[in-house]
Symmetry: C2
Subunit: 372 residues, 2 copies
């Protein structure tokens, strides 16, 4: 692969006799999207038209198809990368986007996280252990109740407390009323614990509204925010990352789908590429169906070495409990943020104690006392 | 269904013995996303927690599950509607979002297209017949070549000429250079033909960049634009529709297949709800696999009567030919825009003549001379 080409890797269901023709169709659909015979410009034929780099049989009627595409058609535009990788081909149901392979200069142009794993650790002074997080729920609570909940979480020593991803700008808890109230509550708790717990407000709406929300949150002293890139558009994530280099952005997987873009690619590799400092995903053994293998590859994509991209924090979540902390940390290691939601909320009036048990379990594991 | 609830309709694969429990799980996941037993606020239990409205067996291990959700959690936020309808549930692979049912006041709050079918007809003076369109391809061409192509298309009498959806803001054809060149070329052709052909530039990047692009295009006298809502985020579509009431927006379906949302819902109902004036989709019998039934439902969702929403223009596309015009118009009727791309480009130096044959075939059909 030269520096002028990148590669989209598909898994395609096909009869063996038809796969070569199918691969060529994908190469054309994802590049010029017109009959190649009607193109007379030699530069377009050479530089822009997609090429079938390889076709490999995986067994069971499944093939891996690698298509070489032009760097010039994407440059450093996140939406355009998804468009050229899987845009129209997503409308065919025999094919899944499995991976992308990008030359170094293209990765550098995207730039990845401004803070990433190291920055997310530094914010809360958590070295040598996993990070901890929880979520403010249920939606429907007003600013005062959310603030009270956040304070009780923070008193338990969490690193990060995020809005539930369902909390947007609703009349019962509008951003402009909720964020100052919760930020103040967390500041009170931080004064009491001495631990610099961060509150992450959830950004919503168009990116113009999101910029206004970030401005308000920064004015409240906040430096970490939650965004759902598949709702906002990946271009909105990229726009925020570039406009607010001091802010760390945690990506939520909502609407990320299960079947058509490999989760290790979307949540592990692409969200990092587009600048997410941390990426939440459904952990194995919880209430979602991801396998251990998927979770391992996802975390590796988020944290793996790159000459141009900071590591992003993998954030397994979804039906996790304090009891599972040792198992999960044995699996992922400490370069991870553990996000517990419902299982802490079930403690009701003992939320602070349940939260403290969670944060202490993570801290103990970091000290080698792994199953204490 | 009261005015305080809307309904998300899912198709779920399940064993019969497990479907009731599965439905309840979806209702919780798509609303409060926490153990209901840990919620002590009666208003949240009554107003916010999702309800299983019905479960119906469709046969073959497939069930239709209707979940009632709170209007207050969504209000008029497009991203939030997708979030609450299918956000985390999209991460499960046993379920597809099949439909949404919205109370009238919620539809009115969203507002739908500013122009819609009637406005798209009025722009080009096309009454009593279908609309016609084509696309500027291949990407990789510079502004001069794209402008030359647009002029030749316009001389053939097209109503709308759009940028290929792969054309973004690339160095070889940046928006600021391409759009004035193409707009000028189409103006020249319009002076020659007397037909008010419209050129639709493709918007790309974050919505902040898109606003700048719209401003530039409006300054060039353009009033119709192309947007890909699944790349930009549906909130970006909504933001543009609200900020630019004089501009009509045509939605492109790219990346829309990755979401496991029924196409008649996403491209027919939701894009209209969020304000798209026209919605492109892969036609049956072309190079995509949509059935006639899907296309018929999609068109009905785009144009069906609503007290609050203008009809949007359904735009079947993808591997269509002039020869198929009578068949396609017999199927859809005239409330449709036909988009031909590659089959016109294949005419090469005779593009204007091939385009004229296409536009005349559509016009003839409108006069009742349906198979002439």
């Amino acid at each position: 692969m030269t520096e002028s080409r990148w590669q989209a890797v598909f898994r395609v269901r096909s009869e063996a006799a038809r796969i070569d023709a199918r691969a060529l169709t994908i190469a054309v659909e994802q590049s010029v999207e017109m009959p190649v015979g009607a193109i007379d410009d030699p530069a377009i034929l050479q530089d822009i038209v997609g090429a079938v780099d390889s076709v490999a049989e995986l067994g069971g009627g499944l093939f891996e198809v690698r298509i070489g595409l032009s760097v010039a058609t994407v440059e450093d535009d996140a939406g355009q990368l998804l468009n050229m990788a899987f845009g129209n081909t997503s409308l065919h149901d025999d094919v899944v986007l499995h991976d992308v392979v990008l030359p170094a200069a293209m990765q550098a142009a995207f730039g990845g996280p401004n803070h990433g794993l190291d920055g997310m650790r530094a914010r809360v002074g958590a070295m040598g252990r996993a990070l901890t997080a929880s979520a403010l729920k249920p939606q429907g609570l007003g600013p005062d109740r959310l603030a009270e909940l956040a304070e009780r979480f923070a008193l338990g020593g969490l690193d990060y407390i995020k809005d539930d991803h369902g909390i947007a700008n609703q009349a019962y808890a509008p951003f402009a009323a909720r964020v100052p109230a919760i930020a103040a509550a967390v500041r009170r708790a931080v004064q009491s614990t001495g631990h610099p717990t961060r509150y992450l407000p959830s950004l919503s709406g168009g990116v113009d509204q999101m910029h206004r929300q970030v401005r308000l949150a920064v004015a409240e002293g906040l430096d970490t925010m939650l965004i759902a890139p598949m709702l906002s558009g990946v271009a909105s994530l990229q726009s925020l990352v570039r406009a607010w280099p001091g802010v760390a952005f945690v990506a939520h997987p909502t609407l990320g789908g299960a079947a058509r873009i490999a989760p290790e690619l979307l949540f592990g590799k692409l969200f990092r590429l587009f600048g997410a400092d941390a990426s939440i995903f459904p952990n194995f053994g919880g209430r979602f169906g991801y396998s251990q293998a998927t979770c391992r590859k996802l975390a590796a994509n988020a944290t793996g070495p790159s000459p141009h991209l900071r590591a992003a924090v993998p954030v397994p979540a979804g039906g996790m409990t304090t009891e599972r902390v040792p198992e999960i940390l044995d699996f992922f290691g400490t370069d991870v943020m553990l996000l517990l939601g419902g299982s802490l909320l079930e403690a009701r009036e003992r939320i602070t104690e349940a939260t403290a048990a969670f944060t202490q379990a993570v801290a103990r594991h970091g000290q080698g006392n792994t199953h204490g």
